[in-house]
Symmetry: D2
Subunit: 151 residues, 4 copies
């Protein structure tokens, strides 16, 4: 059994950030399941590493590449880890100075992950305070004035 | 100017229910705009009669044809009308006896419509109590256990 | 039976605005029930005219007297009416230029009211688009940073 | 500096469960801050250990003492911990077999806590999937039919 350590969590994030699938599969299982919170269009379980990577690509596209995660803390336990990140992003096409919750993301997100044999097999995103409301506003299928946005 | 009357509102709903586009355009403008409440995948403005009819078709498909609206009251004013309907439906594939808000719709919906020259040019759906929350649950892109549903 | 007319709806609002209970009871039944949307602290059914007037007072206090309703249209039907208002307000203590949904209200609200013998016996507030979400944010029991606000 | 360990997290929960304030202050700082998610009546920051204990008492009362937390995993990091619990409860007065989200709580909750010198100084509750929506329904100030509930 490979113990879950802070170093391994950090290495997993680096692999994911590299976009190199060969590196990613060292840390993420092919049968990974990932749950996105809320009831907006991106919410629900993603079943497989490919579905998860498609989600990452879609989130990147919907934010015009502005989406960033800064890890603040990492915690580990038996076959599991949690981390808290500050996530920031702006919906593609939104004014740079927008403060609308439908266009601007800037809040803490936590990730709870279950590991098996050194790889992540299950992940949950979560939010604090009333940020789950803001998160569903951010990923709503429309601009602040309600105009629907094509995927 | 064609006055908005209860009879005309009823006739508009009958035309919409018939699915006959020639009849529909007697009551709905080609440049109709319609706002669906919430921040789920179907929410936002539909801009054009065709977009609105596509929405109706999509709602019908997502509910396996079980979606119904029973009008309870109709109110009219200057170039506008409002009506209250009891809307019911079950998500396609859900168990017949499901009571989950993610699968069962059964609540009152308010429609506010602006008319011009005898045709509806703008519509808003509205909900009462905490039904807006239930509505976003119903149209969420996943089953009660979070499993994502293909469109 | 007293017919519901636009004039009577307007007179009811004027009576309510006057704060004069003798005038109010000409238009609002003593057993009035009123439903406030959302799941924030003010949401739910208010059962009796006094409970409704207490609610109005509480909303006034929570907005430091800044709460206003501008009626845009009135619609009438058999023993019922609906109207659409633009509601604006700022939470008491919030910065004058706040744009936070937790502090600033500025959206359309509809009211659906049932009448009996010339008096309102049941009322529902409702919202369009994703404004039900904004409404629950506005009446949340905390400031934008989550600090709880005493009633 | 007292290191945060799984044992210390478990001891903190035991102390809290004992209701013995002398034991509680061994693990929780007097200036504890705790953030409850959502925009329902209980949401927001609780500022002080006493405010937090009042919240616990209020949650217990609103659930008629049925509220339980079963810890599933504990994770630790530098001066912080996270745990995942299955929280269950029924609103006081609700039918024993209620499945309404306004009356029944049964989902996973994530706690993220910051520690200082061996005591918890800050806590955040978090939820997964669409449970933040269910959580605001559960703590809504009304029964499933909208009837307001006195505190």
């Amino acid at each position: 059994m490979t113990k879950v350590t802070r170093e391994r969590v950090e290495a997993a994030y680096r692999a994911l950030g590299s976009g190199d699938r060969d590196k990613i599969v060292e840390y993420y299982a092919e049968d990974l399941r990932w749950l996105v919170p809320g009831n907006h269009p991106l919410a629900g379980w993603y079943e497989s590493l490919d579905a998860f990577l498609d989600l990452m690509a879609r989130a990147g596209k919907l934010t015009g590449g502005s989406f960033t995660m800064d890890r603040e803390v990492i915690m580990v336990g038996d076959d599991c880890s949690a981390d808290v990140c500050r996530n920031r992003g702006l919906r593609a096409g939104a004014p740079e100075d927008s403060r609308s919750p439908y266009e601007r993301m800037d809040y803490m997100v936590f990730h709870f992950m279950r590991w098996r044999d050194g790889r992540i097999v299950e992940g949950h995103d979560g939010l604090f305070g009333d940020d789950a409301t803001l998160f569903s506003q951010f990923w709503a299928p429309f601009a602040p004035d309600g105009t629907r946005i094509a995927d």
